[in-house]
Amino acid sequence: MAKEERLFLSGNEAVALAARRAGVALGAGYPGTPSTEILERFSDLGGCAQWSPNEKVAFEVALGAAFGGARAVVTMKHVGLNVAADPFFTAAYTGVSGALVVVSADDPGLASSQNEQDNRRYAVAAGVPMLEPADSQDAFDYFLAAIELSERWGLPVLLRMTTRVCHSKTVVWPRAAPSPPGVPHFERDIVGRVMIPKYARLAHRRLRRKLAEIAAWNETSPVNNLLAGDQALGLISSGIAFMHAREAAPQAAMLKLGLTYPLPLEQIRRFVAGVDRCLVIEEGEPYLVDALRAAGITVEGKPDVFRFDELNVSRVRKIMAGDVAPEAAAPAERPPQLCPGCPHRAVFETLSKLQCIVAGDIGCYTLGVLPPFEALDTCVCMGASIGVGLGLRHVLPAAQARRVVSVIGDSTFVHSGLTGLVEMIYNPPATGHVLVILDNNTTAMTGLQEHPGTGRTLDHRPTGRVVFEDVARALGLNRVFVVDPLADRAAFEKLIVEGLAAGEPSVVIVRRPCLLIAEKHRERQQAATERSGTE
């Protein structure tokens, strides 16, 4: 037998390694903190990985691969599952022939997100089994368990991670992978895969039967662990909250849940009956508490103040003590800023000077909201800048409507701005509109990933490129301009002034690479030259 390996990996790296060892044929996703490194590492390890335009497309590509009998993974941050929710729900009905693991990386505490939604509720809503790793070892093991579950029951499986599990590094002993993947091939199954009402009615019942079977299996499954301890206090926990709880109360009896949907209710009932006091320690929404109480199991939950923000050891101690005194403020932080010399700066200086009402979007450029610019008036979700800008234009008095501008990044435009552009052409406001696309040649916010507008694949090889000005013109827009605001600030300002006055929709594409990607490109160029020089 090969010598046992001992590795030190982040949760994301552990998932990538497990995916590689399990013979996953395709990994698709869209970048989003804290999930991004999974596919990057999977690719580095030799796996076939791709960035799709958005999470919905990535999900569908992975689903197709799993229909074809392959093992597939799709990765996204929590809000990405909102975008992919449509196929997610119905894929639970169709099921899969191979395996499909859906990684959702949630962000309790909002380290880098616009909300702190708890995607455990999605597993329940869609009827998709869910595993919650607590560290990198779990991330590795549970990924393999997800593959096995997915193949055994022919269902997609949700691997629900959180920021601290994704980004913390812990020791991993890789276990042996499950049986090798099957050979992809197409097998016709019209009743199972074509969700017309007649067949979907059958599929809904089939899904519920499978979930009942999985619940029964979960009663004795190896992914839930009972840790003996003092019966005065019993703790039920899952994910990273387990680690904080174990540290805060090492003497307590514990039930660590790994497969948290469908729940092993009888095992939990027995555990609760065996302890004097039972407390559920969970981060985010009271998902476990609600589910257990609905099943008639009496447990204590956390006070509502602990629903907000992430947990840590001292907060768990407070939950155990019922201490709801106001918490000490976190250390003051210096907020991030647009890099000195960032091309986005010139844009916001100009929009601020022209007193524009700016419907903004998500990316580095969201930092345009902070001083000295304070030039962003709305930011909701990726792509919303265009719809929100148009809606404002439709109802505001003309003098105000004429000041409204939508600002969107290049990666965000491909993600969910294309349909907004179509809306602008189809339902143009009476005053026209101005859409500014910030084409900095990268997805900067999440760490410089490629996207369809860069014309390079996830691993930076050349591929087809979506050219924004060609798209806008082909859709029938007359006023389409490309400008570099650092090279000619006055020209940029003039385009905006004219666009605001035009009375018909305009698109202004601001094309100037992000400083960091420009440097990356120089480094890659240099490395390539050095390589070819030594050959």
Binding site: R164, K169, T170, M243, P250, P336, C339, C364, L367
Partner: protein, 164 residues
């Protein structure tokens, strides 16, 4: 036992090498056969905001996060970040502030992170060769020499600080 856990916080600003320093420390502890966990928040860190990373090692470690008021060591890379990060340090804990090393003697100012690890290394029982291997593992080869030199300068400064 949790009481045998060593808790370290490394703090600074984006671009200063906080995360690399934490990686090197965690790797040295890992190579020493310890149970290690390293936590960090990175997302907007490239844009110059504050960054902290937690490294915990010992026999048995559960949470990847250091609890406020329980850090044994606080290593800070930016003078302006000392005051706000003090809350991490336990009573009697050791603060390693940027001025512990004389930046002007470093071969490269960007190696301040590794120099401060040199200071920290004087307090921890992790072998010097483990540190050196970890430094090589987390830096491009052309930076090895400068970093190893800064690490030694940091060790010398650490011995002086500890003796004083």
């Amino acid at each position: 036992m949790t009481d045998q856990v060593t808790n370290v916080i490394i703090a600074g600003l984006g671009g200063q090498g906080v995360l690399t320093a934490a990686d090197i420390l965690a790797e040295a502890a890992f190579r020493a056969g310890r149970e290690v966990k390293k936590g960090e928040l990175h997302g907007m860190s490239q844009r110059g905001g504050s960054v902290t990373s937690d490294v915990r090692f010992g026999v048995r470690v559960f949470s990847p996060m250091v609890t406020a008021g329980e850090a044994d060591y606080l290593v800070v890379l930016a003078a302006e970040q000392v005051a706000n990060n003090r809350i991490w340090l336990k009573a009697g804990g050791t603060l390693i502030a940027p001025e512990t090393v004389d930046e002007s003697v470093l071969p490269d100012k960007r190696t301040l992170n590794v120099a401060l690890l040199g200071v920290l290394s004087v307090y921890l029982d992790l072998g010097v060769t483990l540190w050196q291997d970890a430094i090589r593992g987390h830096q491009a080869p052309r930076f090895h020499e400068a970093n190893l030199q800064s690490f030694d300068l940091g060790r010398a400064a650490g011995r002086r600080a500890r003796g004083a």
